[in-house]
Every structure is written in C-alpha cells, then in structure tokens.
Assembly symmetry: C2
Homo-oligomer: 341 residues x 2
C-alpha cells in the first residue's frame, strides 16, 4: 500500500460536510479501502465471504461440546440457506461460497455455492503428532490463494473469512501459543460451550500438542507451526488472506479461528496487515489476548462467538456505509456550508 | 413490556442452529424487539430517523467552533441529500425526515422530507436565563409525540433520533450536570472542534447556566430542567422517545445530544428505557460518563461525533441483521443438526 495515498484520502474526507474526523472509524475504513485499491473511487461491492470447513482429529480428546458430525451437518445447513451466515450475507448483500477444504467423510452433493477441494478428510490429532504434513498444509494454503484469485478474476472487491470445523478453537489456541509465546491456560476458552472443568482439560490437550510438536514450535517457522497445529480450513484461510493481499483486495477477518489464520499469514508476510480489517472482538476469551499480541484492533464488540464469517458479514455492512460516506457526501463547497475548522 | 415474553424469545433463539447465545448482542437485540412488539415476528421495517434541528442562543458565548448559520445550511444539505445522515439512511434503507423545531430565521422551502413545526427561531441564551419557557418546552415535547404518532400511523416499526443544532453540546452537557449531579469541567468536550482553552471557557459558561437556572436545577423537575437548559430539537426528541414508547415502538438513540434528550425522557418516565437501544459510544468525551449515570450500554464503538442520527443509522443496519437472524435461521430440527448443549 502506497503511503502517499493516505493524505489524499484524508484531504477528501476533510472537505465533506462534517467536522473533521467526526465519522471516526468510518473515515478510517474508507481511507483504508481507498489506499488498498490504489486511489480512485473506493468500492466494496461485490463482496464475498468464503466459509471454509474442515474437521479435526483432536476432537478425539473431547475438546468440543459438539460432536464432529456437526461440521458436515452445518455445511449442509449452509447449502440449504438456514445458518447464521446465510441470514447475514443475505441481509448485507454479500455473496457466500462454502468450501470443503477438509471435512471428514466423502463428497457433498453438488451445489452452486459449494467448492469441493478436500485436501484430506480431517486432520490428524495434533495432541499426538502434527495435524497435517507440510505438503498437505501447502495444498490448503494454495487452495486459499486459488480462492482469492478466483474472487479477483470475478470482480470481487472485498473478501470476508469464515469457517466451520468442530474442535477448531483448539488448533487456533495452540497456534496463538506457538506464534506468540502465550500459555494454553490463559487462552483456552469454552468454544461452543465447554464447562470450566472441560476447558482445563482442553488447555492440557493444547499443552500436550505444543510438547509433541515442540520441534515445529521451536523452529519459529510459521508454515511448520501451521502444519503441526492448524487445520485445513485455517490453512486455507491463511492462503486466502495472502492471496487477497496479493490482489490488493481488502480482507474482513472474522473471529477467533479466522484471526488464527490471519496470525499465520501475518507471520509469513507482515505486509498482509495493510489489507485486513478485524471485524469484531470475539466472546471467546483468548481472542483479546491474541489480538493484543498482534496490535490488532477489532471494529465491533458484539459478543459474537459463532464463527462462519458472521462477524465479518456484520462488519461488511458497516464498511458499505463507510465507503458510501466517502463517495456520496457533499463537500462544504458543493453544499454551501461554512467550513468547520 | 411484558416480562413473560423474554423467555419465549430466548427459547426460540436457543433452538436455532448455533451454540446458545453465540450471536451475543444480536440475540439480545432481536429479543428486545420481540418483547417490545408484544411477541410474534419481530419487524424493523419500515424504519425512520427524525433529524430535528434547532438553534441555540448560547452560541453568543462562543461555545461552538462553528457559526450558528451552519444549522440552516445543514438543514438545506439534508434536503439536498448531501449530508452524512442522507448517505447512511440510503445505505441502510431508512426513511429520513427532517424537522425544523426551532431554527433561527424564517421558514425553509417546502420539501417532501421536511416537517416545519418551528416552536421559536432558536432558544434564549441559557447562560443568562432559561433557554425556553415551560410552555415552549411543552410545545416541543408535544411536537415529538406528534412525530411518533405519525410514524406509528404510517406503519413505522423502529424510530431513530437525530439532531442538528450548532452549539447543542452545551445544553446537553448542562442537562447531564443537572440531572445527574455531574460537574461541567468533567463533562464538557470539544463538540465540532473547540481548542482545550475554549473547552474550559465552555465549561465556565455551563457552570454559569447552572447557577443562573439554579431554581429549575434544584427543583429536580425534569421538565423544568429541560426547559431551562435544553433546546427545541432536544425537547422534541425527548417527546419523540416518549411517544415511541407509548406506541410500543423501538427507539434507536443516536449520540451525545440524543442521549441528553433520552435523559429527559427517562427522568420523566423511567419505563422509556425498555424501548430504547443506545446506538453508539460518542467520541464526545462526556458521553461515557453520562451513559454510566443512566446504566446505559452503547451498541457500537466507532468514534463517531457527528450527530444527525448517523450512529443510529449504522446501528439500524446491525439491528436488521439481528432481527433477520431471529426470523430466518433454521432450527436444529429443521436443519437436521445435532443439538449443541
């Protein structure tokens, strides 16, 4: 992102009929889109969310309140239009694509919104060894890059991240610990609804995963850590974020799991930061600590902890307002309003 | 609001395909609309914002960075569609009405969105005496009640508050001080852009206003305080909030000035609280303190300080997502998803 563009955006915003900076974060968002898109008229439509699904071998350790079969059931719910992400993408005029990057079981029935690119039918149990081989992890990363390129080729201007994968707060928490030197006990949370005792057991599983995968963790290599502790949907989203940045496309990052994907992307390529907006502060308790470790600031504080891209969808609704402000408000001169200093 | 309705709303939300409570504030908003509307399908459309304008004699004390003529210029900007509130109401599909409750000068050209019900051409200077007579204040309150009744009669389901009035952070701050025993020095802020020294002078003007109007302040009578320290747009919005509550209509309260109108309404009728959502935490520094005094929690934290109803408009966009979640998501049974406990 060219740093010379920011003052141009601010100059434009400062001439609109409002006290300087009085639209706060909306102005920042509009300026960010302007800069990412290289100047000109900032555009956020068409917008698309990729909700990427994958399963996790670590569910064998009892780390989730939900059974693994729910991942597949929810993919079918997405295709039938009944899930939270369906409602919110319809509400805010966002295109939704569902991606099978690594669900357990076989293929799904064909559907126009479904992209079937299963790398493997679920990860291995990261508490006993690496979740993925580095080759599998790279396949998922490249899938994400492909999705970003496809969106770019189809004219999409803003990409949102979403995911579905029973058990995936566990790999996400393990990744935060490995990338930022945090402790499982301070980050582990209830996910879909664990009891406090079960959260303690989950933290112990994550500690074991970090120990079993110590060679990868100690290497500090972001790709090795992602392979050892991540998941197919997480690696795909990391690739999606990198691919979107490559294409100068704004990414709206969803919650706890998407932010773990962002962490992997950011460790691989810190410039990805310039292309991302963090949609919301998750109610999953470790999210705030992880965001702090990256200096990331969330846009919304709505107590969401569903995933799927739901926070990204709401944030895209706010983003549309921000960009319309930039493009449609009258200047002081146009409106004949005395300039407010 | 019937307290028996809340468990019905929660029961419905808990059967949708998501972990219980995982859509956080969106679930709370949907439940609130359900309860306010007496059960059934919660509806937020059509939604309307009333942006009410008035002028303030206290501008003679140099309490604003903007000249008083900007109030009128901005009303014309609203009618021409070029202001922030125009852009955001268009973005979120909200009907906008502009009300002249007390602008200085004569009438405006007729316009289908404009309601001309000027009580007087601006308030008197509250630093030297009451801003309004009690009769004038009552006229403005009744105007607000009329606006609420008109919206109700036209089928409007959600009402947002907005205002325009150069100088109106000063009466708002004075009202907060009088209602909640707060000090002008801790609440006064820059408004459209005062320097720190000018904010000090503004606090001194507010202290003088409280002293000059001590009889009203000490009476504790919410109407006398509103008349002595408020403004025409503020009193109209207080009436609008009371009228909306009377009609079982949700009110989305905008920022610093709208919240002062809410404070007056709440002091007159505490049950108004059940019908209000506080759209955002204003960047005007005293807003947080005033909200705290009323136990009010803001929905969004976007650093807005423009007024006009801009924060209410963005919040209405979020509200639409919340209600659609309630109405459109599949249940566990419908979707064939294993129940998450």
């Amino acid at each position: 992102v060219d740093p010379a563009l920011e003052p141009l955006a601010r100059h434009h915003l400062d001439n609109l009929t409002k006290p300087r900076g009085s639209l706060g974060v909306l102005e920042n968002l509009a300026a960010k889109v302007f800069c990412i898109q290289g100047g000109g008229t900032p555009v956020v439509d068409p917008a698309r969310i990729y909700t990427v699904a994958g399963d996790h071998g670590v569910t064998a350790e009892g780390v989730s309140a939900s059974p693994q079969e729910v991942t597949r059931q929810m993919v079918l719910n997405f295709l039938n239009g009944g899930a939270g992400i369906n409602v919110l993408t319809r509400t805010y005029g966002i295109d939704l694509r569902v991606v099978d990057a690594g669900c357990a079981g076989g293929t799904f029935p064909e559907h126009p919104q479904l992209i079937q690119r299963k790398v493997a039918p679920g990860t291995a149990n990261l508490a006993v060894g690496p979740a993925m081989s580095e080759e599998q992890c790279l396949s998922a990363l490249l899938l994400g890059l492909d999705l970003a390129d496809a969106a770019h080729a189809e004219g999409v201007r803003v990409i949102g991240t979403g995911e579905m994968g029973i058990g995936n707060t566990t790999p996400s928490t393990a990744m935060y610990c490995a990338y930022f030197g945090l402790e499982p006990e301070e980050l582990a949370g209830p996910g879909t609804g664990l009891s406090p005792q079960a959260v303690e057991r989950k933290a112990a599983v994550i500690r074991r995963a970090l120990s079993v995968n110590a060679a990868a963790v100690d290497s500090g290599d972001p790709l090795r850590i992602l392979a050892a502790l991540g998941g197919y949907e997480i690696a795909t989203l990391a690739g999606l974020i990198l691919g979107a940045a490559k294409n100068r496309c704004l990414v709206v990052v969803d919650g706890f799991i998407s932010t773990a994907a962002y962490a992997a992307a950011w460790k691989m390529c810190p410039a990805a930061e310039d292309y991302c907006v963090f949609s919301h502060a998750s109610a999953e308790p470790g999210h705030g600590r992880a965001m702090q470790a990256m200096g990331a600031t969330p846009l919304l504080h709505l107590g969401l902890r569903l995933g799927e891209g739901t926070g990204a969808a709401v944030a895209m609704g706010v983003l549309r307002g921000a960009v319309n402000i930039y493009n449609e408000m009258a200047s002081f001169e146009q409106a004949g309003v005395s300039v407010v200093h």
